[in-house]
Amino acid sequence: MSRYSQFKVFSIVFGLAYLGLFFYSEVTKVAMFRYYPVLGRFSRAALPLETAGPPILWYSWLLGALVIGGALAAFIPRSWADRVPAGWVWITAFAMVVVIVVYERRWFY
């Protein structure tokens, strides 16, 4: 398994980074970039809703998580990655699902 052990690190870090970026955007209203479907273009700055329409931030969270997860998985020594217990992957995944459900329940009341 050691040849691909970094995959465990990637999966854990990707999810945590995605949620971290999402919550950061929720709190600060800041994102790396936004996509404005009405204009059909990306923008680093937040544009006015009246002229630019609604933005999509999901792409920036995904890209950010991909870069952070990929970088950590690439640079972490393989011997360290080998020592990451397999259980951590599903436990963090389960925890992330729970966090999402708990946070997004606000839509259902």
């Binding site: 691909y4 999966s11 999810g15 995605y18 609604p54 999901w58 992957v89």
Partner: protein
């Protein structure tokens, strides 16, 4: 074009649903409990052979969903807001987060299902498969709900 993408999204989702549900049931079975009836044959599949297909279908469907997202944001979400269907908006919000978490899990999922299957990752293999199955089912049903929202809530 958007209709073609939407139909493709549904078809890939249905194929993914079938494949991962098969795997989720098969990983739950006890080796001694195999019967020759329908249920026995359903759960008695060779689970590892599904893995690459599941990874591919999941990744493709996230890309398709990403391509459809702008249309949803401009046309569907304002409609949901006009109809005061807050819960439907919430269903989509969870769908996009689950899709992202599931996408990130694919490398580890693939690793744990590599043959020969490692005994020490059996539990991780099982629970990761079940988590992905939950995500796939939720996202499929959420997509269908949103796709048919006008008919369901006239």
């Amino acid at each position: 074009m958007i209709q073609v993408l939407l139909i493709l999204h549904v078809l890939v989702g249905a194929a993914l649903l079938g494949a991962i549900t098969h795997q989720a049931f098969s990983v739950a079975r006890r080796p001694t409990s195999l019967g020759r009836n329908f249920v026995g044959r359903y759960v008695g599949v060779n689970s590892p052979t599904f893995t690459n297909v599941i990874v591919l279908l999941f990744a493709v469907n996230v890309v398709l969903g990403g391509l459809l997202y702008p249309r949803y944001r401009v046309d569907v979400r304002p409609l949901l807001e006009d109809m005061q269907l807050r819960a439907a908006n919430g269903v989509f919000e969870t769908k996009e987060h689950f899709a992202a978490v599931g996408l990130g899990l694919l490398p580890a999922y693939w690793l744990f299902w590599r043959t020969p299957l490692a005994l020490d990752s059996a539990a991780a293999r099982k629970y990761l498969t079940w988590i992905l199955t939950f995500i796939v089912w939720w996202n499929f049903l959420a997509g269908e709900l949103l796709n048919n929202i006008k008919g369901l809530f006239p």
